[in-house]
C-alpha cells in the first residue's frame, strides 16, 4: 500500500513540473492572434540565441514577449501563490475551509491595491498597499475569532465580516475614482491577468518567488503547527513566531498576486484539497505539489478565458464559475470534506 502511494507521489511530482511547462507552450500560441507552434519555437530560439542564421527578428516577437509571456508568467506565479498560501493557511488554522479568500486576505489586498491605484496613480506599485491591507484583514479575522481561532465556524464568520467590510470600502474607492480609472478598476477587480505589464511583474514575481519558496521550506513545520497551539508548543516550537511567519508570507504572496490581477478565488481551496486526496495530508508533499498544480490550474483557466470565446472572460469569474460546482461535486462524492 505504501509502495503504491510512493509511486503515485512520484508520478504526481513529475506532472507537477511537466504540466505547467506543457501548458505554457500551448498558452503561447493561443489567443486573439494565433501563432503556430513552430513560430513560437523559432521566435523563442531567436530571442535566446540572437544573431543565428534565422530570418531575423520574428514578427511574432512583440506579441509573444510583450503580451503573452508576462501574462503566462503571472498566471504560473499567481496560481502557485494562491494554492501554496491556501495549503499553508489550512494547516496553520487547522481548518480545511480557510484560504486567502475566506480569510478576507483577497479582498483586503484588492482594497489596498485599488486605494493605491486611485490615489497614488498607476505609476506607483500597488503591491505595498495591497500587502498592508491583506495583513490587516487577516489580523482582524484572527482578532474577531479570538481564542477559538481554530474553530471552523468562528474563523469563517470572521472572514465573511472582514471580506464584507473591505468589499464595502472598495466600493467607496470606486465612487471616488474618475470614470476612466473606474472602468479599468472594475475589470481588474473581476480578476484578469490581461493587464500585467513587465513593470508590475518586476515587483510581483520576485515577491511571490521568495514567499512561495520560504513556505515550501516550512512545509514540514506546518505538520507540527497543524496539531494546535498547545501541542506545538510542548513539542518545542515558538508558535507565535511561526504563526506570524506563515500568516505574513501567505498575505504577502496573495497581495503580490492580487495587486496585479484582482481577486481570483477558489484556487487556494481546490488545489490543496485535490492534492490531499491524491497523496495524503503530509504537507511535505501537499505544499510543493500545490505550487505546481496551482500554477497549472490558473494558466489553464487563463488560456481558456482567452481562447474559448471571441471576447475575453475575466479569469476570476471563470475560476469561480467552474470552481464552485466542481467543489460541490467533490464534496458530494467524497461524502465529507476531504482532510
Amino acid at each position: 500500500m505504501s509502495g503504491r502511494r510512493d509511486r503515485r507521489t512520484t508520478v504526481l511530482s513529475v506532472l507537477a513540473v511537466g504540466l505547467p511547462l506543457v501548458l505554457s507552450l500551448v498558452a503561447l500560441n493561443v489567443g486573439a492572434y494565433r501563432i503556430p507552434p513552430k513560430a513560437v519555437f523559432t521566435t523563442v530560439a531567436e530571442a535566446v540565441f540572437p544573431g543565428g542564421d534565422g530570418p531575423g527578428p520574428s514578427p511574432y516577437a512583440d506579441i509573444l514577449f510583450r503580451v503573452r509571456l508576462p501574462r503566462l508568467l503571472l498566471a504560473l506565479f499567481a496560481g502557485a501563490a494562491l494554492a501554496v498560501s491556501g495549503a499553508s493557511l489550512q494547516a496553520l488554522f487547522r481548518n480545511p475551509l480557510v484560504f486567502e479568500f475566506s480569510l478576507g486576505i483577497s479582498n483586503g489586498a484588492a482594497f489596498g491595491a485599488a486605494l493605491s491605484i486611485v490615489f497614488l496613480g498607476r505609476g506607483f506599485p500597488p503591491q505595498p498597499a495591497a500587502f498592508v491591507f491583506a495583513l490587516l484583514a487577516v489580523l482582524l479575522v484572527v482578532a474577531i475569532a479570538g481564542r477559538s481561532a481554530s474553530q471552523v465556524v468562528t474563523i469563517l464568520l470572521g472572514g465573511v465580516i472582514v471580506s464584507a467590510l473591505f468589499q464595502a470600502l472598495l466600493s467607496l474607492v470606486e465612487v471616488f475614482a474618475n470614470p476612466y480609472a473606474l472602468q479599468s478598476l472594475v475589470f481588474w477587480l473581476m480578476g484578469s491577468l490581461g493587464q500585467a505589464t513587465w513593470s508590475d511583474l518586476a515587483v510581483t514575481l520576485p515577491v511571490i518567488g521568495v514567499g512561495v519558496a520560504v513556505l515550501i521550506l516550512m512545509r514540514w513545520r506546518l505538520n507540527v503547527l497543524s496539531l494546535g497551539e498547545e501541542e506545538a508548543r510542548s513539542l518545542g516550537l515558538d508558535t507565535t513566531r511561526d504563526k506570524i511567519a506563515v500568516i505574513a508570507l501567505a498575505a504577502l504572496v496573495t497581495a503580490a498576486a492580487t495587486a496585479v490581477m484582482g481577486v481570483v478565488s477558489w484556487v487556494g481551496l481546490i488545489v490543496p484539497h485535490l492534492v490531499r486526496m491524491a497523496v495524503g495530508a503530509d504537507n511535505r508533499k501537499v505544499v510543493p505539489l500545490s505550487a505546481g498544480y496551482g500554477a497549472a490550474l490558473l494558466l489553464l483557466a487563463d488560456t481558456v478565458a482567452r481562447g474559448a470565446a471571441p471576447f475575453e472572460i475575466p479569469v476570476g469569474i471563470l475560476t469561480s464559475v467552474v470552481g464552485i460546482p466542481f467543489f460541490i461535486v467533490l464534496l458530494k462524492k467524497s461524502g465529507r470534506i476531504w482532510l
Binding site: S2, R94, R221, L227, E231, G236, L237, G280, D282
Partner: protein, 252 residues
C-alpha cells in the same frame, strides 16, 4: 532528571492552582489523582510549560524552566495530551515524526535519524507495523499508544501524561500503564501521570499526589500517605481500603 516545584501558582477565571513544594524523582512513576476539576491537567500543563508556570517555580535538575528556550525545553520534558489535536489525516509515522520538532530547524524536514527515532518509538509501544496507517482509522487505545510514541520520539528525560487511560477497556488500560511503568524502569525517565483509576495508580505508581480544588492534599509513597480518611476527604464519598493477596485495593 529531578523535577522540583516551588511556590507554583496559576489561575484562570475562578480556578487557581497552588503547589507550594513538590519533587519528582527519576526512574519513578508519580500518579496525580483527585476529582474532576482538581487541577491535575493544569498542573501537568504548567510542568510542561504549555501553560506558563512563571519564573522560579519549576526546576529541571535545578535549572529554572522559565529560562530555558522552547527547543531545549522540549528535549527535557515531553507532554502527552489526552487526545491528539488532529484535523488532518496524517499517517502514524508522520504523526510520530512531529515529536522530533525540537531537533529540526524551521526550514528543514526530518532526516533519516529522525525517521529512525520515530520507528524506534513505535517499536517500543508495540506498533512497529503501524507506520503507514492513517491516524483516523486507529482505535482509541492505539491512538493513546501513538501519542505516547510521539513523545518518546522526543527523547525527553521527563514524561508527563494526562489521563492516558481514560475511556480505555481494562486490557488496554493495563497495557498502557505497563508501558508507562516500563518507561520509568527501563529508560530511567521521570514519569508523572494523571489518573482517575485509583487501582491503576496503586498498582503502577511509586508515588502518589492527591489533589483537590487546585491544591495538593497529600504527596508521597502510597504506603505512607494512603488511608480511608484521605480518600474520603479528597473524593467526598466513603471509600474503603482492603488488603487482598498482599495488595491494597480501593472499594466503594
Amino acid at each position: 532528571m529531578k523535577v522540583r516545584v516551588e511556590g507554583l501558582k496559576f489561575s484562570y477565571g475562578a480556578f487557581s492552582l497552588r503547589v507550594p513544594s513538590l519533587a519528582f524523582a527519576e526512574g519513578r512513576v508519580a500518579a496525580l489523582v483527585g476529582p474532576n476539576g482538581a487541577g491535575k491537567s493544569t498542573f501537568l500543563k504548567c510542568l510542561a510549560s504549555v501553560l506558563p508556570p512563571g519564573r522560579g517555580t519549576v526546576f529541571f535538575d535545578g535549572h529554572d524552566v522559565a529560562g530555558i528556550a522552547g527547543r531545549e525545553r522540549a528535549r527535557l520534558v515531553g507532554y502527552v495530551p489526552q487526545e491528539p489535536g488532529l484535523t488532518f489525516n496524517y499517517s502514524v509515522l508522520d504523526f510520530v515524526l512531529t515529536g522530533r520538532a525540537a531537533f529540526i530547524p524551521i526550514f528543514s524536514s526530518p532526516a533519516r535519524r529522525d525517521d529512525e527515532a520515530a520507528r524506534e518509538a513505535l517499536r517500543f509501544v508495540g506498533l512497529e507495523d503501524f507506520g503507514p496507517r492513517p491516524v483516523f482509522e486507529l482505535s482509541s487505545g492505539e491512538r493513546r499508544l501513538v501519542l505516547i510514541a510521539r513523545t518518546l520520539a522526543q527523547q525527553s528525560a521527563v514524561l508527563l501524561l494526562d489521563e492516558p487511560t481514560t475511556f480505555l477497556d481494562p486490557r488496554h488500560e493495563t497495557e498502557v500503564m505497563e508501558l508507562v511503568k516500563r518507561l520509568a524502569v527501563e529508560t530511567g525517565k521521570t514519569v508523572v501521570v494523571s489518573l482517575h483509576a485509583l487501582d491503576m495508580a496503586l498498582k503502577f505508581a511509586d508515588d502518589m499526589v492527591f489533589m483537590k480544588r487546585g491544591a495538593v492534599v497529600a504527596a508521597g509513597r502510597p504506603d505512607d500517605i494512603l488511608d480511608e480518611a484521605l480518600l474520603r476527604s479528597v473524593y467526598d464519598i466513603p471509600m474503603g481500603l482492603r488488603d487482598v493477596d498482599g495488595r491494597r485495593i480501593v472499594v466503594r
